[in-house]
Symmetry: C2
Subunit: 217 residues, 2 copies
DNA sequence: GCTTATTTTAAACGAACGTTTTAAATAATA
DNA sequence: TATTATTTAAAACGTTCGTTTAAAATAAGC
């Protein structure tokens, strides 16, 4: 007979889906444990607290996606100088690879990331940057190399603009494809949306500087 | 002696600040009423429910900003054909004007908008689109005119990308200026950030199309 | 197989939440 | 000023939440 997943895994699987859909504080442990078909107290037994469960859910994705990104960037970097599009392609590819290890993984991962950044000020931000700050710095550095005419200050801002595009789009992904479907728009799967974002953010990052930047030092 | 604001206004003023900072569901009525120095029950007396208070807070901004945007777009449109930058300038200007009627109004407004879009799926989205859908359509239409080489489908997506950039940036505005200040970045006021966004989204909206678009009809 | 460690279960805890109720205070009206 | 309507006030309501407890069930080790 088929092996039933461990309680820990059942909780993580149910939690990540609900967290991505409804947000962290809108998702109760009772809802998670009922969907996972495990006892309520098992969350605190296996993870300690809800906050630690949230971090465990996110860590499961970060530990896959971030090293994959680092490898992809280094592989590209070794061969030749990168264009901005290539840099963002190298970022999207490992994100899509998460889709293979877990059904709908890419969308869930990005939605979780967005929720974490907007909802719970600080605590998750700290968790991400302290555990994967090196990769994040690497990304900024490679982007800066691919767009050398853009000052570092402006790269900083524009990378956050791009992150906003990414996580907001994925956070409202379900609503967007509903509207898009009503307007007979095709190819609305996650990968297509991500590939739509690439030229947008690439053009944005390398855009001409606003005038008021020239005036200041 | 100075006139004390009405209970209704005191609630709205306290609520909008806390909602923008902490999100809707993370802000209790008890916290709002204690900051506003009014009785807890007065929220339900004056607004009916927390949900209706949220809508009232948002409506106070939407009723100012959205008509102002419509007027600004029409005024520009009457004179000459618009470039994308001019379109976005015409959108930013009325947003900044909110800053004069209420201290820090622009940041609060955009943060509320972002919270509303991401946090509470649907219910606020419906509130915005049914009350100000005409202006939103107008914006998309004018943007499409200013970037006629971009298919309507792509304009749809890219306007949502731009909205994501806008609201995500303002939602994490406080955290961003903290990081930016640590890196000796100047001119981090709300208007400067908005003016940084304009060339970014303008370039993004008019970016060359991704290859896979050409293959489909 | 017996003992120990680990995991699951049911029940309850205390705190915080939005909301309602009822009475007191204030304002408006005549 | 007397009466009515409006607003404020304090207290409690019923729910839901994350968490804890203590016993039952299962697994592991010898």
């Amino acid at each position: 007979m088929a092996h039933r997943l461990s309680t820990k895994e059942r909780i993580l699987n149910a939690a990540e889906r609900l967290f991505a859909e409804r947000g962290f504080s809108e998702t109760s442990l009772r809802l998670i444990t009922s969907k996972a078909e495990v006892n309520l107290a098992s969350v605190n037994y296996h993870f300690g607290s809800k906050k630690e469960l949230i971090q465990a859910v996110l860590a499961r994705y970060l530990d896959i996606a971030m090293p994959a990104m680092a490898r992809a960037l280094e592989a590209q970097e070794a061969e030749h100088a990168l264009t901005l599009e290539e840099v963002f392609e190298a970022i999207v590819e490992p994100m899509m690879s998460v889709n293979e290890v877990r059904p709908n993984g890419t969308a869930i991962f990005l939605q979780l990331l967005g929720r974490g950044y907007i909802e719970n000020q600080g605590h998750l931000r700290w968790f991400v940057t302290t555990n994967h700050g090196a990769v994040l710095d690497k990304i900024v550095q490679v982007v800066h190399q691919a767009a050398p005419h853009v000052p570092a200050v402006e790269v900083f801002w524009r990378m956050h603009f791009s992150l906003g595009t990414l996580v907001f789009t994925m956070s409202s992904y379900d609503a967007l494809v509903d509207i898009a479907r009503a307007d007979f728009i095709e190819s609305n799967d996650v990968e297509s949306v991500l590939r739509r974002i690439i030229p947008y953010v690439a053009a944005g990052v390398s855009a001409p500087l606003p005038q008021f930047i020239h005036g200041s030092k």
